[in-house]
């Protein structure tokens, strides 16, 4: 399944959330989004944003200095 990538490296909280939010606004429910971040705060903030806005976190992981958050656009 294809996914949309959001490059939020070097951005500090809450910019990674804003970048994801703005991207998700233009996507259909069911679309997968992979956010690549370097601010550790994204590990908490993007899932929190997903919870309150009806999207689904599929995976979070750390690769070196990078934090990867994969979500599926919901139908809020």
């Amino acid at each position: 399944m294809s996914k949309v990538v959001v490059d939020a490296r070097r951005l500090l909280c809450p910019l990674p959330v804003i970048r994801v939010q703005d991207k998700v606004a233009a996507l259909m429910p069911g679309t997968r989004v992979e956010a690549v971040c370097t601010d550790p705060g994204a590990l908490h903030d993007i899932p929190a944003w997903c919870r309150i806005n009806g999207h689904h976190i599929l995976e979070t992981r750390t690769e070196g200095d990078e934090i990867i958050v994969i979500l599926e656009v919901g139908n809020p």
């Binding site: 909280c13 809450p14 804003i18 309150i52 806005n53």
Partner: protein, 347 residues
């Protein structure tokens, strides 16, 4: 049956906005939150940068508040639009470079636009009369309502009883008797209300959320403008003002020196944009040079950088200097002694 009324609440992440939104929910109002990112928000940045803070829990308080309330939150990037507020505040600055009244007017205006564009009914803020010396006074409350364009569609649930009834009250969308009449700087009424609602944890009970209210930060921003001869900034400029020691040895350049590993890692991200210096013979900080230094200036900056490394007592410290084209060369310098660093260099 009348349809449910909808309010957009300005959510800063602090206690007042949490309570204001909750008071509306108690009256059956559908609430969504809106939060604005100016670039000057204190929110977590220094924690994210500094390694010694990595053990501290990191969360965005506005998101956390929204989750406590069970509401959607829209975080809006206003970095570019906000510059005009910072450069030319109609109502002037506060104690530092904080344009608090203009800022509030700007944000309520944006929220009012949201109301009009998204089929909402009114705007809610957590303002309390007398809470803040510039933007939350009895005489400035009507100024915010009027100049934001929200007029009587702006409701302040925590101090509404001290103000003329807003349209949501007059129309019976909300019950004025179940709003509050808080005033002054005391936080006790808010804390009591938080307890009543079962909120045992909340952020910054009386804190500021903007770096522009910070005297040291404001001094660095004023220096940035003075050195460039114009009130301008980009996001990277104002982020860098939050990081490291800033020293200006000469009018035409300043040196930003990391204070610990986390800041060094953050500054590394800017190595392609600034001439940078790093100690190689001894453990030491990474430094960026902002300006147009001569070779002698770079040598002086290198001596300064060496002064903050482990080699500060050594007769010579070797450093690597990288220019904007990516070329690097090495310099061996004598670290400056503390007496050779005038107090006036520190920003």
């Amino acid at each position: 049956m009348p349809s449910q009324r909808k309010a957009i609440a300005l959510i800063s992440g602090g206690l007042d906005s949490l309570l204001a939104a909750r008071v509306m929910q108690e009256q059956g109002i559908y609430v969504e939150g809106i939060n604005f990112f100016t670039g000057f928000c204190v929110e977590g940045h220094t924690h994210a940068i500094r390694k010694q803070d990595h053990a501290k829990p990191k969360r965005n308080n506005a998101l956390w508040v929204a989750e406590q309330l069970g509401i959607r939150l829209h975080i809006i990037d206003i970095i570019e639009e906000y510059k005009e507020v910072v450069f030319n505040p109609r109502h002037g600055y506060g104690a530092n470079l904080n344009p608090c009244l203009d800022c509030k007017i700007f944000m309520v205006n944006k929220a009012h636009h949201w109301v009009r564009d998204h089929g909402f009914d009114f705007v809610v803020t957590g303002e309390v009369i007398g809470q803040r010396p510039m933007s939350q006074r009895k005489d400035t409350m009507p100024v915010v309502s009027r100049e934001s364009g929200a007029e009587d569609l702006l409701l302040r649930p925590l101090c509404a009883k001290n103000l003329p009834p807003s349209r949501p009250e007059r129309e019976g969308w909300v019950d004025r008797e179940r709003l509050y009449g808080f005033s002054g700087r005391s936080r006790k009424p808010q804390m009591a209300l938080a307890s009543q609602f079962g909120f045992l944890e909340y952020a910054q009970p009386a804190g500021g959320c903007c770096f522009l209210t910070d005297a040291r930060y404001a001094a660095k921003l004023a220096d940035l403008w003075a050195s460039r001869g114009t009130k301008q900034y980009e996001l990277d400029d104002i982020m860098l003002l939050k990081v490291g020691r800033h020293l200006r040895p000469r009018p035409h350049f300043k040196v930003i020196i990391s204070r610990e590993e986390g800041e060094g890692n953050f500054l590394k991200g800017y190595r392609n944009q600034y001439i940078n210096i790093e100690s190689i013979s001894h453990p030491g900080p990474l430094a960026l040079i902002d300006g147009e230094p001569s070779f002698d200036d770079i040598e002086l900056a290198s001596r300064l950088v060496a002064r903050y490394g482990k080699g500060r007592e050594s007769p010579r410290v070797e450093l690597e200097v990288r220019d904007l084209e990516g070329h690097s060369y090495r310099l061996a310098v004598k670290p400056l002694s503390p007496s050779e660093v005038p107090e006036g260099w520190y920003l």
